[in-house]
């Protein structure tokens, strides 16, 4: 990032900042158990769960691995897996 007076820079650049690299656990979704209820999408604080037709896609570019989706999933369809494994 360029150093400017007042640290004034072009806006809207956060999309290019892939915060998924902060994650140390990744949520993995098992579509065989998923009831497509939408809980994971609604609780995700990073809006990193997207509905695509009849399935859910987790956006690993922005998922920070907080685990809320796995905790809230009523069908236990999401498992948190350590990134180093």
């Amino acid at each position: 990032m360029e150093l400017t007076i007042g640290a004034v820079v072009k806006g809207g650049t956060s999309l290019g900042y892939k915060t998924g690299s902060w994650r140390d656990q990744r949520p993995v979704l098992d579509m065989k158990k998923c009831k497509v209820c939408g809980q994971c999408e609604s609780v995700c604080p990073d809006s990193a769960v997207h509905v695509v037709e009849e399935t859910y896609i987790i956006d690993y570019d922005y998922c920070k691995g907080c685990g809320l989706c796995a905790y809230e999933c009523p069908a236990d369809a999401i498992t948190m897996i350590r990134e180093d494994k």
């Binding site: 150093l3 007042g6 640290a7 004034v8 820079v9 072009k10 806006g11």
Partner: protein
């Protein structure tokens, strides 16, 4: 034609702000600042002033509103005191870093506890490190003129920092003085509309105060320090330019009063400097070579100018109406740090005076001068500040 009126100090400030045509005012009441924003509210309500007047829920919001307004390219203003200024402090640090040139009147009042609404300079001076330019004034007329120059200093493209005009509560804000008001067309000529290079614009989105970590925070701070250093010269030019238009000249970053041959020099800020000028005159009539340096710009700290004024003296009594608990008064610390190692520097004695509205009257000032002369004659370097007017009989015992 300028107009002469008898005005309360707060009214004079409200009129100065009106003449500067700010577009956004935020206001949250706190004594002794309230009359200023009340006065401005009336101008706006009467249609005499075309500004957005935002009544906020706290001083934190008051500072946030002018911060956002300034980023959007508006000239913005608020006023506060004491606890209110302390509540603003987080926003003020960020605003200085984001180089947002609004103006605040910091009406000097002590801070809690004990709860007190009386004057001292603890509140404004505790914000000295955040990056604001801080001007201190002796009279309401000087407050009027300082506000007009404050916007021009803040908005200078090479400065771009908030300016706080610090004026003593009650003594100035609530007393009536003969005030000469300049013509608005003169102010308009002196202070053209605010046109920043960067401003919030939906068509060209920008972020203020973006992230910067260990690779750039030092350089960022250094650039603000450079702006402060540049401001020293520019403030003098702006003061001189307004003095030429208004006919009222208070000096530059400091005002030296009878310092040329002075052996003991008092150094102070704000309204007590007025009493000190009388004390200096009377001491001189009695044969004492005493002078006064009044600091007008506390940040940036004008040590070069102070050195020029005090270098021939034997001793300097720094009268601090504030205290950095666990050390001493803030101006005392500043001056000792800057004079250390200077050849034949005068003895600097820090004096704590006037806390919580304790009167700094002529007899007390004479005692300060006596005390400093004693210290100077003994050759003993006072490490602890001298407390002027302390009543030891009521100090609570036990820790």
């Amino acid at each position: 034609m300028s107009v002469v009126k008898v005005l309360e100090g707060s009214e004079a400030v409200a009129l100065a702000v009106k003449a500067c045509r700010p577009q956004v005012i935020s206001a949250y009441p706190i004594s002794p600042q309230t009359h200023i924003v009340e006065g401005i509210a009336k101008f706006v309500a009467d249609g005499d002033m075309d500004a957005e007047y935002v009544r906020v829920d706290s001083e934190f919001s008051a500072a946030s509103v002018i911060s956002g307004a300034s980023a959007a390219g508006s000239r913005a203003y608020t006023a506060s005191s004491s606890q209110g200024l302390l509540l603003m402090s987080e926003v003020l640090y960020a605003s200085c870093g984001m180089r947002l040139p609004f103006v605040i009147t910091g009406v000097n009042r002590t801070v809690s506890a004990p709860i007190s609404i009386q004057v001292d300079q603890q509140d404004t001076m505790s914000l000295r490190d955040c990056g604001m330019i801080q001007l201190f004034v002796e009279s309401s007329q000087e407050a009027y003129d300082a506000h007009i120059t404050a916007f021009k200093i803040a908005e200078d493209p090479k400065i771009l920092l908030p300016v706080m005009v610090c004026m003593d509560g009650w003594v100035l804000t609530h007393s009536y003085e003969r005030i000469t008001l300049s013509e608005e067309k003169d102010v308009d000529h002196f202070l053209p509309p605010f046109k920043p290079a960067n401003f919030l614009d939906v068509k060209n989105p920008k972020t203020w105060g973006s992230i910067g970590e260990e690779d750039m925070v030092m350089e960022f701070r250094y650039s603000v320090q450079q702006a402060m250093q540049y401001a020293k010269g520019r403030i003098k030019e702006i003061f001189a330019e307004w003095a030429g238009i208004s006919g009222r000249n208070y000096g530059g970053l400091i005002e030296s009063y009878k310092t040329d041959d002075a052996e003991v020099i008092l150094l102070a800020m704000g309204s007590m400097a007025g009493t000190m000028k009388d004390a200096v005159d009377n001491l001189r009539s009695a044969g004492d070579k005493v002078g006064l340096v009044k600091i007008r710009s506390y940040r940036p700290f004008p040590y070069e100018d102070i050195w020029e004024a005090v270098k021939g003296a034997k001793a300097v009594a720094v009268v601090d109406a504030n205290l950095s608990l666990g050390s001493e008064g803030a101006i005392g610390m500043d001056l000792k740090a800057k004079l250390y190692g200077a050849p034949n520097a005068p003895l600097v004695v820090d004096v704590i005076a006037g806390l919580g509205g304790r009167d700094v009257n002529e007899s007390r000032i004479k005692k300060i001068v006596e005390k400093v002369k004693e210290a100077q004659a003994s050759g003993y370097f006072l490490r602890e500040p001298y407390w002027a007017g302390l009543n030891p009989t009521i100090v609570p015992q036990g820790v």
